[in-house]
Assembly symmetry: C2
C-alpha cells in the first residue's frame, strides 16, 4: 500500500507554491516601501554611510530573478547589481524593474523540480549551500534591507506601510 | 509497496529540524547584534521616533517562546512584551533573557507534531493563520527589526556583524 497516495494529510512543512506566495507577499510589501519614498530620497537618502534604499532594492531585485532561474536550471551566471543596461534612473523605472522580476520569478518557479531544492550548488557561482537555503537567503536578505528602508522612511518623517500587510 | 519508506529521496522543501536550525542561526546573529550595542544605546538610542533596539528585542523574544509553545500545544496565552517580572534592566540581563528563550524554543520545538504546522489557529489569541505561517512571521519579524538595529549601529558609527554569518 502506498501511504503517500492514499493519505490526504499533507505533512510537508510548506509546499513550494506556498513558499512562492510567501515571498511574493513580501515582494508586494517591498514594492509599497519603494512607493513610499520621495523620488530624490529613494536615490540619495542614507544613514550612517549606508547605501540609499535604491541600491538595497537593486541588490534584492538583481539576485531574485537569476536566483530562481539558477535553482530551476542549475545555471548560475554572474550577477550585476547595477542592473547594467536596464539600470533604473527614476522611481517609475525602479517599480517597472521590480515588476519584471516579479514576472521572472513567477515564470521560473513552477519549472523547479522538487528534488532541486535540497541539491547543494554554488549559488551565483560563489555561495555553496542547498538551493532551498539560497531561496531562504534571498527572502531573508530582502526583509533585512527592507527593514532598513523603514528606518530611512521614519527618519524622513514618513509612515511606512504596515509590516504584516502583504 | 510503500514508496515513502523505500525511497531515500527527501522531497520535502524543508524539514522541521532544518527550519529550527535556520531560525536559531538567525537568533545567534541577533544575539551578536545585541552584543554590538553599547549598554546605554541599547536601551535609549532611536531614530525617527522608533523604539530603541531593546524594545524591538523584547518584542521578538516575548513572541518566540510562547509562539513555539503555542504551536506545540495549541494553547495561546496572552503575551506581555515588557517581559513582566523578568524584564531585563541591563544588557547582560537582555542576553540572559535571550538565552532562556533559546532553550525554550529548543525544548518545545521537537514536541510539535508535524500535522500541527498546517493547522489554522488564532496565534496569541488574535492572528488567524496556519501555525507554519505564524512561525514564519516570528522569524521574518525578527529579521525585519534586527535590520533596523543595523541602521542604529551604523548611525552610532559601529560596524554590525555580517548578515550572512549565523
Amino acid at each position: 500500500m502506498n501511504t503517500t497516495l492514499n493519505n490526504p494529510v499533507k505533512n510537508e512543512l510548506l509546499s513550494a507554491a506556498e513558499l512562492l506566495d510567501h515571498w511574493q507577499g513580501h515582494r508586494k510589501l517591498t514594492r509599497r516601501v519603494i512607493l513610499a519614498f520621495p523620488e530624490k530620497e529613494l536615490f540619495e537618502f542614507s544613514i550612517g554611510g549606508m547605501r540609499p534604499f535604491f541600491e538595497l532594492v537593486m541588490e534584492m531585485a538583481t539576485l531574485a530573478g537569476p536566483g530562481v532561474k539558477g535553482v530551476a536550471t542549475g545555471e548560475w551566471p554572474h550577477v550585476d547589481h547595477t542592473g547594467g543596461s536596464k539600470r533604473p534612473a527614476t522611481k517609475e523605472e525602479v517599480l517597472d524593474f521590480w515588476d519584471e522580476v516579479t514576472e521572472e520569478i513567477n515564470t521560473y518557479w513552477p519549472a523547479i523540480e522538487p528534488v532541486r531544492f535540497q541539491k547543494v550548488e554554488k549559488a551565483f557561482g560563489f555561495y555553496e549551500g542547498t538551493n532551498i537555503s539560497t531561496i531562504q537567503y534571498l527572502i531573508d536578505n530582502e526583509i533585512h534591507h527592507r527593514g532598513q528602508g523603514y528606518v530611512y522612511l521614519r527618519a524622513l518623517g514618513i509612515e511606512p506601510p504596515a509590516f504584516w500587510e502583504r
